[in-house]
């Protein structure tokens, strides 16, 4: 939290407390998996977005649906960073932690800087609950939190009292305490709660007692802040200066889904999504399944292999075949993706990466599937790879993946990750008529005199014709066996195989010619160190570079959307700097690629903790490289 100026209260008679202007704030809501922390965070996000703050969020929840109540394993949290200026990441360290039980406090307190505020529901700080969380003594009493501003409030008791008129069971009454917490924090930061009241009224329209209780709990939390003198100040975060237009907040999974819907609309193709449920990709299937009216068909297949198989079958029939998965699922789909390479049919494969190997960390983020995406198939099976860099960017990246797939008749891997999937940010809505148009350019007749050659290529793109069943006169057979050039007949000829392997590779390399020029963020224009990133590290790298520049360092940042083919001009760019540093949430997969492709001594900065880079930490790592490079 950065203090900018202090003012006296000017919120009218409600503000007996002082109001302090702050530039940016990080709040983390933490509680049991069943405490509704994700919903609480989501509502606070909506309120914050409406005030015009820039923001970024980071949900963090266990893989278990309901881990034993009150244990560290069951703690779920939601962090939001909001500011009156550009926000790049969900923030390293919370300024305010809301902890709904002892386990939530214990699991998160280590992330707090001295002086941070902790709002604790003190209700469950009793023998058994403390022991479950691993506390030998009560941290609210034993002085261990002396470095923090602790506000112990018996939120459960206050909530139960506030909702007494509605006749709920004690358990149901206590469950509305998340609304109390939301009301209190909303008051602290001057967030309006009208939107949440409307949301609650709609959500509980059929159960008036729950509706009224949730609204009452929300107001009770707000009023607690306003009427007690426990909180000496409230904070004001001014709206950020953002380009004009209409905004909404959006998660990466939703944006990616919308991008696929848009790709269908802008190509005129049916979107067919075959998927098998897998964390953290399932929400894309959920979202797409709603949009039948917009030309989307979804099939929840029997397994990952069937999901991609059905998508490829649909592509063969002239739809935009899509399959969505995470790392373990991508491993299972490898053979079918290889078939798509051989058949040269459009296919979009979405991998929302999570911690691996094997089942790994299902709900945590990682970038460790890059090399799997690039090389995880038998034979020489080149596949274009596209990566979004922020939650809202998933929309554009999905459209780009579809453009490449359809134009070049190829499977494309779209590499999102768990952080992008569940994180959210404000999104300036695009004008739909300005979105790119994708031309399927189906084959409709002979392409070689009177005959049709299914593997006769477009000389520009090297793409083969997309001749779908039902087209008279173009009947032909395709398959996974090597194809003869032009005819597509089975061929075991050595020279033909050599030619076809090289041609499939060349086709993917041709995509580079359609890519926009690289944008390098180098404000001073004379940086000697270039930071290269891809995917969701965009925010942390941008934030770290900004911090370093504020300290006087000159550092450049380039972020790659296309990992295969790499964008034109990249090699020249890399060689222009004294040092190239590549931060990744893996053990250095892109840096290895850059070394191999461009003979550059790329330095790797890696983190595989299941969490995005912390800006401060990354800035420290980069500073080390800057010092070395300058000495």
């Amino acid at each position: 939290m950065t203090l900018t100026e202090s003012t006296d209260g000017d919120l009218g008679e409600a503000a007996r407390t002082a109001v302090v202007d702050v530039a940016d704030v990080v709040v983390r809501f933490a509680g049991d998996s069943g405490d509704g922390m994700q919903l609480t965070g989501g509502r606070f996000t909506q309120e914050t977005a409406r005030l015009g703050n820039d923001l970024a969020t980071l949900p963090n929840f266990p893989a278990e649906i309901r881990a034993p109540q009150g244990t560290l394993a069951g703690v779920s949290s939601f962090q939001i960073h909001f500011a009156g200026r550009q926000v790049r990441t969900p923030g390293d360290s919370p300024d305010v932690l809301v902890a709904m039980n002892p386990a939530a406090l214990r699991a998160n307190v280590g992330d707090l800087r001295p002086g941070a505020t902790v709002i604790v529901d003190s209700h469950d700080f009793t023998g058994r609950s403390l022991a479950k969380a691993g506390y030998a003594t009560d941290p609210l009493d034993d002085g261990t939190l002396g470095h923090l501003d602790v506000q112990a409030v018996d939120m459960t008791a206050l909530t139960v009292e506030a909702v007494r008129p509605f006749g709920l069971s004690r358990k149901d009454a206590a469950r509305t305490k998340n609304m109390f917490a939301l009301g209190l924090v909303s008051w602290m930061y001057g967030r309006p709660v009208d939107g949440t009241v409307a949301f609650v009224k709609q959500r509980f329209a059929r159960t008036p007692e729950l509706r009224d209780a949730n609204v009452a709990a929300l107001r009770a939390g707000w009023n607690y802040g306003e009427t007690t003198e426990a909180f000496a100040v409230t904070y004001r975060v001014k709206p950020a200066a953002t380009p004009p237009g209409t905004y909404r907040t959006i998660t990466g999974n939703t944006a990616l889904s919308y991008g696929l819907v848009a790709a269908g609309v802008r190509s005129g193709l049916t979107v067919f999504a075959g998927a098998y449920p897998i964390t953290p990709a399932s929400d894309i299937l959920h979202e797409l399944s709603k949009h039948k009216a917009l030309g989307v068909t979804t099939v929840q297949a029997e397994d990952e292999i069937a999901a991609v198989g059905a998508a490829l079958g649909a592509s063969y029939g002239g739809a935009l075949g899509v399959t969505t998965t995470s790392g373990p699922g991508l491993a299972l789909k490898a053979e079918t993706i290889g078939l798509a390479v051989m058949l040269e049919l459009p296919l979009v494969v979405v991998d929302v990466q999570r911690g691996g190997p094997s089942t790994g960390l299902p709900t945590k983020t990682e970038q460790a599937d890059l090399l799997q995406a690039l090389h995880g198939r038998n034979g020489e099976a080149p596949v274009p790879v596209v990566a979004p860099r922020s939650p809202a960017d998933c929309f554009d990246a999905a459209l780009e993946a579809a453009r490449i797939a359809v134009t070049y008749r190829t499977p494309v891997l779209l590499l999102s990750d768990g952080y992008l999937a569940n994180g959210s940010e404000p999104w300036l809505l695009p004008a739909t008529e300005a979105l790119p148009v994708i031309d399927p350019a189906f084959a409709d007749g002979p392409n070689d005199g009177v005959s049709f050659l299914p593997y006769l290529r477009d000389p520009g793109t090297l793409a083969r014709p997309w001749a779908v069943p039902g087209t008279p006169g173009l009947e032909h057979r395709i398959g996974g066996l090597e194809k003869a050039d032009r005819t597509g007949d089975i061929s075991y000829d050595p020279a033909n195989h050599d030619f076809m392997v090289r041609t499939r590779q060349a086709k993917v390399e041709r995509i580079a010619a359609s890519l926009p020029p690289l944008e390098v963020d180098d404000p001073s224009g004379d940086a000697t160190v270039l930071v290269v990133g891809w995917g969701s590290t965009y925010g942390p790298i941008g934030g770290a570079c900004q911090r370093l520049r504020e300290e006087g360092w000159r550092v450049a940042h380039v972020h790659l959307r296309h990992l295969n083919p790499l964008p034109p001009g990249l090699g020249e760019l890399l060689h222009r700097y004294d040092r190239v540093v590549v931060p990744e949430m893996n053990l250095g997969q892109l840096s290895r690629l850059l070394r191999a492709e461009h003979l550059i001594d790329a330095r790797s900065v890696t983190s595989v903790r299941g969490l995005p880079f912390a800006t401060e930490e990354l800035a420290g790592e980069l500073e080390h490289h800057l010092r070395e490079a300058c000495s």
């Binding site: 209409t246 009216a293 292999i305 809505l429």
Partner: protein
């Protein structure tokens, strides 16, 4: 362009698929590719039967698609002048599902083998059948792996000596008919490569069926499992080895008795309800009358051949019932949601602007 309507017999399974403008012949369906199965392979007979039978359907050939997996039989699509995809091992039913769901104007066929469909692709077969996707699946069962040169397959008998089981197989075999019945398949049949007439009859019924049709074709591999079905084919033994299931007919076989029907029969024990083969049918025997709607009896009939080498093998249509197909249901749900009537551009605009939005001036 005319298309079959659902009520147009004899092929309600092909409703929505455009009809050919002119009569077709076998030659129209032969591709220019050289057929490369081993001499004497049972697959030749099936190919000839299919090429001979496709003209009867009267469909535009560009609206017919054969999708196969991996194995000798899966080369089938190359030899037909329709659209075709020779895909990867075991996955043809999954690929065909995506195609059938998105293209109601296609007649979609799957060609597979005992290894392809029952071993590596068992999962996809089961799910295509239980979903009742409108595809016709031809399962060539030669009870051996041919393309990999002679290992035992999931339908090989216990004790079978092959390259990978020099001491005899200890794997219990799987019966595709009973697997399909267990998966609630709506059309399940078995036929033999060498019986062109029966093959054609069964394929005709399978094509006419709307929904997933599984046809097991007992097929001889002359190189790695020659003579596997000789008992069913030899003039001396066929009458006692094959039970022809015909709807509404008593299940009788063997040399004709006094009434001209087979002297042997499948009868139901009055007390237990169990089925039993009798060698000489008696006047008071309750001979089973074949009813393709009766899945329990179909399952019991299919089980007869598993009871021992000497037991008879039923062929014909074990089960045929009507149930909505998966692809029809998917499309109906989309239609009700407004598919095809919604302005997609406007709908996209509404989608993006849905939820909580705010404006910055």
């Amino acid at each position: 362009m005319t298309t079959h309507a659902q009520q147009d017999l004899p092929f309600p399974g092909l409703a929505g698929v455009p009809e050919a403008d002119a009569p077709q012949t076998r030659k129209d369906f032969a591709s220019d590719q050289e057929v490369r199965w081993c001499p004497g392979c049972g697959d030749y007979a099936v190919l000839a039967a299919v090429q001979g039978f496709l003209p009867q359907l009267g469909l535009r050939k560009e609206n017919i698609v054969f999708v196969s997996g991996i194995g000798c039989s899966s080369r089938f699509p190359y030899y037909l002048d329709t659209y075709g995809m020779h895909s990867i091992h075991g996955r043809a039913p999954a690929i065909a599902t995506g195609l059938a769901v998105t293209r109601p104007d296609l007649s979609v066929w799957v060609v597979t083998g005992d290894g392809d469909a029952l071993s590596i692709g068992g999962n996809h077969l089961v799910h295509a059948l239980r979903r009742n996707v409108n595809v016709t699946i031809l399962l060539f069962n030669n009870r051996v792996y041919g393309l990999t040169k002679g290992q035992y397959s999931p339908t090989s008998e216990l004790g079978k000596v092959t390259k990978s089981t020099p001491f005899g197989s200890v794997d219990a075999p799987l019966d595709p008919v009973r697997l399909a019945l267990g998966a609630e398949a709506t059309f399940v049949a078995r036929t033999i490569d060498s019986d062109r007439q029966h093959l054609t009859e069964v394929l005709t019924a399978a094509a006419a069926h709307r929904g997933a049709a599984l046809v097991e074709i007992l097929q001889n591999c002359p190189v790695f499992n020659d003579g596997a079905f000789d008992a069913l084919k030899s003039k001396d033994s066929a009458a006692d080895s094959i039970v022809r299931l015909v709807e509404g007919a008593p299940v009788r076989f063997g040399a004709p008795g006094e009434d001209g029907l087979g002297a042997r029969a499948v009868v139901r024990e009055p007390a237990s309800g169990m089925l039993r083969v009798v060698d000489q049918v008696a006047a008071d025997d309750e001979v089973v009358v074949h009813d393709p709607q009766d899945v329990a009896t179909a399952f019991a009939l299919a089980g007869m051949s598993a009871s021992g080498a000497a037991a008879p093998t039923p062929v014909g249509i074990f089960r045929q019932v009507q149930r909505p197909t998966y692809d029809d249901l998917v499309r109906e749900q989309s239609r009700q949601a407004g598919w095809g009537e919604t302005d997609r551009e406007a709908g996209l605009e509404d989608l993006l602007h849905g939820g909580d939005t705010w404006s910055v001036a």
